[in-house]
Symmetry: C2
DNA sequence: TTGAAAGCGCTAACAC
DNA sequence: GTGTTAGCGCTTTCAA
């Protein structure tokens, strides 16, 4: 007999069975200190009344909301949405809900987002973005909740994070080209000053240059491209710089460069080779298909979320800065 | 002097100023029944103590969480992530936070998601997905909170929704081809039984067929393609069916068909013309670029969220079933 | 204009 | 095992 009054409370259940709140609370929370017979009666009443615990009240009383905040640049960017997909799946697995905020990679919006999320009493936070301003960093620390960075790094490396070894990956790709005799290797980055671009990607590129005894030519470094269109326009600059190979940090941008080059009559890979870095679907739809570094995007998010659950459970992390393996996928945009 | 004890409560503020909780609550909530001098003192103390209201406590007391639930199939699908971007931006504008859940378009997961969101006492819900099972529908109604469908329809059309006129759009595209003399027009859908596919897209296609006196040929209707890969494989079927034009419901799928066709030596648009329907970046990166119906994706989300805010404020909706305008974008995948 | 007091629905000692 | 009793931090009558 499903009676299902709407919004039954724990009081209703207690009254129906003739026990106290505490007992109902115990069975709801799976405490073992309840006589089986009592438990069954309570369970029956719960089902009968359609009782579902009010998470808000629970959150107030227990100081746990089973909700995590996720701060990300832009969910329409495939790289970030795949990371977030990994986060979301693991969060669900551990019974957490996700409060999502887009920041467009703007530190001001990130700051508001973090504070706002803190007001909602989140149990933990995942932060993504190509930059983490000091202000945002201290706001995060002020919340007092555990945090994990996913696909992001802070200059000081004080926060736990999950990434691939960007420096090594960019070193390898660059070196690969240099060894094959490329003398005009261009590098396309999102910014000229952010940690992930400067400390890692560019550092790897420069290291390769040094290893092979080449001189850094600033005219071969392109920054500020964020979208497919940006990449397409940048192709003109790539041609002007007489680049013979391009390493790009983002798939949409790389695809823009590829199409921009071809639309201007440049053959890929014959005249210019291109390698991208995220290996999203965009690399597959390109013609020729784009060679790419393959980051385990979903896994970066999933691992980050898993680490966060440990932190929220006050467990120790065996490693604070996790680097996941990456691979190189050879397709037809390179010889 | 910013003192900033951590986690000051409303009590701390009241004590610091020497007023009651009620007064602090009034100034925090912008009630006008506070003497300016008092208000200023309270404000100063709030700033001084770094006081920020605990949203959970507030939610319990006021029965409003300023949080909306968003249920979507998959955030890595550009169509849905752009809708959600519109939702998120408007939600922020109205000071709501977004609890996001991916369902993979699975009714079972949608059901759990809705119930779970209800437990968190959301103030409203936006639902996206190509299907809305009866079970999910009644779970939604059982929550008692306002709902708006975005880019989705329910068979009964009982819920408010925001869409484009899919039937008309598919009618127009189909008729365009038929008028040009195409006799083998293929239709690619996501499913063979869901409302949005059957009642709208396919209905528009069939209507066009009738208008031009053509007989429906089931072998020209393809269903079940969800991804780029699916589309690529489907290309073989398109060739086998001797289709001379294709209308596809999704960009990634359309791009898969396009590349699958070309990889098999079929020229587009000379031998087969293709039109897609979502006009995401995927249509631009294609070679040739894909002609497409252009749905105002961001706006669909934004308008849906705006409608939801009205519903949450107990305002009336002038229109329950909103149809936003669409356009046709001609590119080089059609003659 | 301000304060007192009663909840909101639940958890968590602490008794029994 | 089970009940009692305080809260959690805030909003909201109702009085004053």
């Amino acid at each position: 007999m499903v009676d299902e009054k709407k919004n039954a409370t724990i009081y209703d259940v207690a009254a129906a069975v003739g026990v106290s709140l505490a007992t109902v609370s115990r069975v709801v929370n799976g405490s073992d200190n309840v006589r089986p017979a009592t438990r069954d009666k309570v369970l029956a009443a719960i089902k009968d009344l359609g009782y579902r615990p009010n998470a808000v009240a629970r959150g107030l009383a227990s100081k746990k909301t089973t909700t995590v905040g996720v701060v990300m640049p832009d969910m329409t960017n495939l790289f970030y949405s795949e990371l977030t997909r990994g986060i979301d799946d693991v969060a669900n697995m551990y019974q957490y809900d996700v409060l999502l905020t887009n920041t467009d990679d703007d530190p001001k919006r990130a700051l508001t987002a973090v504070k706002n999320l803190a007001d909602k009493q989140i149990d933990g936070l995942i932060f993504m973005g190509s930059q983490l301003s000091d202000e945002v960093l201290s706001a995060i620390q002020a919340t007092g909740v555990p945090v994990v960075l996913a696909g992001s790094v802070d200059h000081g490396r004080v926060l736990p994070s999950v990434n691939i070894d960007y420096q090594k990956a960019f070193f390898e790709v660059s070196q690969h080209f240099l060894k094959k005799g490329q003398e005009r290797l261009a590098l396309v980055l999102g910014s000229k000053d952010r940690a992930i671009d400067v400390d890692y990607r560019r550092a790897g590129y420069e290291e390769a240059l040094q290893t092979s005894g080449q001189i850094l030519d600033e005219s071969l470094i392109f920054t500020g491209a964020r979208s497919y269109q940006d990449g397409q326009e940048m192709a003109a600059g790539v041609i002007a710089a007489k680049a013979s190979a391009v390493v790009a940090y983002d798939d949409e941008v790389a695809l823009g460069v590829l199409n921009g080059l071809q639309d201007r009559g440049v053959n890929v890979p014959e005249e210019v080779e291109i390698v991208s870095a995220n290996n999203t679907t965009f690399t597959l739809v390109a013609r020729p298909e784009l060679s790419s570094i393959d980051q385990p995007k979903y896994d970066i998010g999933a691992v980050a979320m898993r680490m966060l659950t440990k932190l929220m459970d006050h467990e120790n992390l065996s490693e604070k800065q996790v680097l996941l393996p990456y691979t190189m996928v050879k397709r037809n945009s390179t010889k």
